[in-house]
């Protein structure tokens, strides 16, 4: 039962690669955005807040199609990137990472924002009276105190990214070895006669990976909280 075939392994590893790249690329953007939303009041803030959460409620196929329109070869951004920087998203694994990054973004931003909201701003004031510039305050006080939320968000985002299906298959299709992640591999196997056993194997792998990510998120959060409160 548990002989995972090379093409299945390829899909598993690709999912992991896509998840890791999507999470690492999205995290700095998520931190910057969460910090801005937590700390500043400005015109259009609620629209940005809603836009961040949109992938959570929009049908994934819509998000995927919007990505195709924007980042596809003839898309507004995609065309420019391909012509000027040689970066192509359409039908590449990088496109799968982009789709997963967008889909998991709200899950990444939310815990980070909550943990920045929870920081006592008077500590940041104390830091500035000790000579820390805005950037130093952020790096030495805000960021370390928000760490539990950042780690929790990253793991949650990663767990979402490795399982993403709808937006990915719409944007970059289902090409074995290039864009076929574990979810699209399972989908293909279910469509194939005699694919049931292989599908079941990947289902189990998928459950194990997701569980591991969730448990890791809990452990990280608990450890970081303990570190911050000093016991």
């Amino acid at each position: 039962m548990f002989d995972i075939s090379p093409p299945e392994w390829t899909a598993v590893l690709l999912s992991l690669k896509v998840g890791v790249v999507a999470t690492l690329a999205a995290t700095p953007i998520a931190i910057a955005l969460a910090w801005t939303l937590a700390r500043y009041e400005f015109w259009g803030k609620s629209i940005i807040d809603a836009a961040v959460h949109l992938p959570l409620v929009l049908p994934p196929v819509v998000t995927g199609y919007l990505l195709l329109l924007t980042f596809g070869k003839r898309g507004l951004v995609g065309g420019w990137l391909a012509d000027h920087l040689g970066i192509v998203f359409a039908f590449r694994w990088t496109g799968a990472a982009l789709a997963c990054g967008v889909m998991s973004f709200p899950l990444l931003v939310r815990p980070i924002r909550l943990s920045i909201d929870a920081i006592d701003r008077r500590l940041e004031q104390a830091a500035s009276t000790l000579g820390a510039s805005t950037w130093q305050v952020f790096a030495t006080v805000t960021l370390p105190l928000a760490l539990p939320g950042i780690l929790a968000g990253m793991v949650l985002g990663f767990a979402k990214a490795i399982g993403e299906f709808g937006a990915t298959i719409t944007f970059v299709s289902n090409i074995p070895g290039e864009t076929q992640t574990i979810s699209s591999a399972i989908y293909s196997l279910i469509q194939t006669p005699d694919g049931d056993r292989a599908a079941l194997r990947l289902v189990i792998v998928s459950i194990v990976m997701s569980m591991a990510a969730l448990v890791a998120s809990e452990v990280f959060a608990r450890r970081a909280t303990r570190r911050l409160h000093g016991n």
Binding site: R122, T129, P144
Partner: protein, 221 residues
């Protein structure tokens, strides 16, 4: 020398204050809500006056006629808060060292040793703020502010959150500090006894205005 001449509207309350003090310890006295903390926050730069001038040793830190407002982190004014505000993620050693690191100052081990001894915090260096008592926390906060080598030290009711026994424990440290450290201080309190022991000059505030200014003898019994 500290020169303050500011006005600031805060909702229906306003602060309108002018004084200049030479003393090593200037006491700011008044009941809660008299504008003490707002005034100290303006000196620290955490709050900007609507109009006026704040200068330390002749250097202007705020001057609204020149649109001058020196940023908090460039003022070199230490601040000891009532609630200590130690960084919970750093141990005592790194809390004490924070100001030196942010200002990229050279290490002064002699001063560190002297302060550890004077404030009796040498045995706490490896602890986290969460493991300290209220009095210990306040002593570390004092040391942390002084090690950033400020030219003026603001203390906003540093004993306010402590019970009588703890206050009696910290007061001698503050008096030693006044006599041994060469940093002028602004000491905020609503306790006349505390100020009688520490201050050399007193600014009495009432509803955001100066009610009296002079030696500690002006304090109510």
């Amino acid at each position: 020398m500290l020169r303050v001449e500011v006005s600031k509207q805060l909702g229906s309350f306003s602060v309108d204050v002018a004084f200049a003090s030479e003393g090593r310890v200037t006491g700011l006295f008044g009941p809660s809500g008299s504008g003490k903390t707002s005034l100290v926050n303006m000196i620290a730069g955490l709050m900007t006056p609507d109009r006026g001038v704040i200068s330390v040793d002749g250097e202007a830190l705020d001057d609204t006629t020149q649109h001058l407002h020196v940023a908090v982190h460039r003022r070199r004014i230490g601040y000891v808060f009532q609630d200590a505000r130690l960084f919970p993620h750093l141990d005592v050693r790194r809390n004490l060292d924070y100001g030196r690191r942010m200002n990229r100052l050279a290490r002064d081990t002699a001063q560190e040793a002297r302060l550890n001894e004077m404030l009796n915090i040498g045995h706490l260096l490896d602890r986290r703020p969460g493991q300290l008592s209220g009095g210990e926390r306040q002593r570390v906060a004092l040391g942390r502010a002084l090690l950033s080598r400020p030219r003026l030290l603001l203390l906003d009711e540093p004993l306010g959150s402590l019970d009588e026994d703890r206050k009696a424990e910290i007061l001698p440290y503050l008096m030693r500090l006044r006599d041994e450290a060469s940093v002028p201080m602004v000491y905020v309190s609503h306790d006349p006894d505390e100020l009688r022991q520490l201050a050399l000059q007193v600014v009495m505030l009432k509803r955001g205005r100066i009610a009296a200014f002079g030696s500690p003898e002006i304090l109510p019994a």
